[in-house]
């Protein structure tokens, strides 16, 4: 009764697989790589490529201008450590646009149970997604910085090249990548709707940036420079700027406010830990 059409169409016979079976680590790596490609729209539709590639291109613009000015006017314009703070809006939009892509569809279309029915744990899944976004954000910052640095070396400005600043800024890019990816994934993973995820990440950035800006302005104008630095920490980009300055000795962007020093590193660490714990708890719950 079961030998009718199907047997005729697919009569190639079933072959068993006896090749290698890689471990959990390699599966996690494959998930991370696929997610990273997806963040930049690779292997996805043309529409999915527009936003990330456009933002990546915008990130390069100041670099191009900077190299041009260096070549023509022999002047150094954009200090490496300030690049992220200057471009923070673009980075925030990138984060808001791409972090929901990484987690929301798996929740919305219920692909997560399929991952978890394989030798992959909730922690592996979360780590792969965090790593993918962190690598993407690092690349978003490191590529323009590196191009600018290569440009500086080629133009050969008078005086020594800003090598220490460049490496400090790369260290800062790592901090940015870790902080922003954990916050982005944490916010995005709470809703299966991609649009809501985008809105919540961008709202988070705008809210923290606005509150931090208002408080800092008020505190500086009332002469409380000692507290202004703390108010700045509310903005994730200034938080990383201060941590970068503490860890790598770069000059902070805001010179009026008193820098909070080691506290910025501790706060950064606490925020990352909180966000990652939140994501893990959220997924443990989703898994059961």
């Amino acid at each position: 009764m079961t030998t009718e059409p199907t047997a005729v169409i697919h009569d190639i016979g079933y072959r068993h697989y006896d090749g290698v079976r890689l471990g959990r680590g390699r599966a996690t790596l494959a998930l991370g790589v696929q997610s990273l490609r997806g963040v930049f729209g690779l292997g996805r539709t043309v529409r999915a490529k527009i936003m990330p590639l456009l933002l990546a291109a915008i990130m390069l613009m100041p670099t191009v201008v900077s190299i041009g000015v260096m070549a023509l006017a022999k002047q150094f314009v954009i200090p490496y450590p300030n690049y992220a703070v200057i471009m923070q809006a673009v980075i925030a939009v990138f984060l808001a646009a791409q972090s929901p892509y990484l987690v929301a569809p798996d929740l919305r279309f219920r692909v997560l149970p399929l991952y978890l029915s394989r030798p992959l744990t909730v922690t592996d899944y979360v780590l792969a997604k965090l790593a993918a976004l962190a690598v993407a954000l690092f690349g978003l910052l490191a590529v323009p910085l590196t191009i600018e640095y290569v440009g500086e070396l080629l133009v050969d400005l008078p005086g020594p090249p800003h090598t220490a600043d460049y490496f400090g800024a790369l260290g800062g890019a790592v901090l940015h990548a870790v902080l922003l990816s954990s916050v982005g994934i944490a916010l995005a993973s709470f809703t299966p709707r991609r649009g809501l995820g985008v809105a919540s990440v961008i709202a988070f950035y705008m809210f923290t940036a606005a509150v931090s800006g208002i408080f800092t302005g008020v505190l500086i104008s009332s002469g409380r420079d000692d507290l202004a630095g703390w108010a700045l920490l509310l903005n994730p980009f200034f938080l990383v700027d201060y941590a970068q300055s503490t860890l790598f000795g770069t000059a902070p962007v805001n010179i009026e406010a008193a820098p909070p020093g080691v506290a910025s590193c501790l706060i950064l660490l606490a925020v990352v830990a909180l966000a990652v714990t939140g994501v893990l708890l959220r997924y443990r719950k989703a898994a059961s």
């Binding site: 390699r26 599966a27 696929q34 996805r44 149970p113 991952y115 029915s117």
Partner: protein, 308 residues
């Protein structure tokens, strides 16, 4: 460890209580190789049992093992060796079936090239042709179910859990899916645990059927024991049902009328005789034959039988 010595899965006093419901209640059951059906109404605890067997949900009490692995401690080994087709939709609409199945193969630990080959093979086996390169958002329910089955088979598991694979399919799609499941169990040599709330469809593909209700075991036995009850054939004619019944009775057959149907008991020693007698009688009386079908004892009957 041979396949025949180790049961596909076994549970012992398995109980799962959620805050408001008891999903499984002291379930002790064993299934061997081949195709095993798990039957129960919605909410009988089928999906909960599968989740426990996958090692994803800890039982409240009791033990379970799959392919000889303990679900409580060896979940990863189990998930490496089994495939799972969930009941719900699980396909991202902007991915093509090929991309998706390749990705899922990699998630099971296959290297990329092997994943590609296996995905192409598996998709062909489940009957997805050119459309496998199109985004899955535009697939029909039948195609989606095939992709879901393909992702469960792509890493060549020893055992697959198929949760309601015929859900939402039309009669033709249902038949195709059941035929495919039968092939997986026999030709592919992969043991199958297939759940359904429709009893009739499982008796066509399963070697063994487990019936649960309210988380408790109602019955577990080989399919022939369910259906070994007397074989009968059902005959429906346009007119002259009475005449046909008389003619067959006169010929020594056991005939009963059920509404518009006549059920004729098939002779145990010489089944061919009964079929011939029905054919000849209909032919000689010049009746319009509307229906002639085999009837067996149905799995449905377990629910009618009083439970000990």
């Amino acid at each position: 460890m041979t396949a025949s010595a180790t049961p596909c899965f076994a549970t012992e006093g398995l109980t799962k209580r959620f805050p408001r419901v008891t999903a499984l209640d002291d379930l002790t059951v064993t299934a061997g190789t081949g195709v095993t059906g798990l039957v129960g109404a919605n909410g009988a605890g089928k999906s909960t049992l599968i989740k426990i067997l996958l090692g994803l949900l800890p039982p409240t009490s009791g033990r379970a093992s799959v392919l000889g692995y303990d679900t409580a401690t060896q979940g990863l080994e189990i998930r490496r060796a089994v495939g799972y087709m969930p009941e719900h939709d699980c396909l991202p609409p902007d991915m093509s079936a090929t991309e998706f199945v390749v990705h899922m193969a990699q998630m099971s630990g296959l290297p990329r090239t092997a994943a590609r080959e296996r995905a192409a093979d598996t998709l062909r086996h489940v009957g997805l042709d050119e459309e496998r390169y199109r985004p899955m958002g535009g697939y029909s329910t039948g195609m989606r179910q095939r992709v879901k089955l393909a992702q469960a088979l792509v890493h060549d598991p020893k055992l697959v859990f198929l949760d309601e694979p015929t859900n939402g399919l039309d009669p033709q799609g249902r038949d195709d899916m059941l035929a495919l499941i039968r092939r997986v169990g026999t030709e592919f040599g992969i043991s199958v645990l297939v759940t359904s709330h429709l009893l009739g469809e499982l008796e066509r593909v399963c070697d063994h059927v487990i019936v649960i209700d309210g988380g408790r075991l109602l019955r577990s036995s080989a399919i022939r024991e369910f259906t070994r009850a007397e074989q009968t054939i059902a005959v429906e004619v346009e007119e002259g049902q009475q005449r046909l019944a008389e003619r067959l009775t006169a010929g020594g057959e056991t005939v009963a009328a059920q509404g518009r149907l006549l059920t004729v008991q098939v002779s145990a020693d010489d089944p061919g005789r009964t079929y011939d007698a029905v054919r000849d009688a209909v032919c000689d009386l010049g009746l319009g034959l509307l229906r002639l079908e085999q009837r067996r004892g149905r799995i449905e009957d377990v629910f009618k039988e009083p439970v000990a």
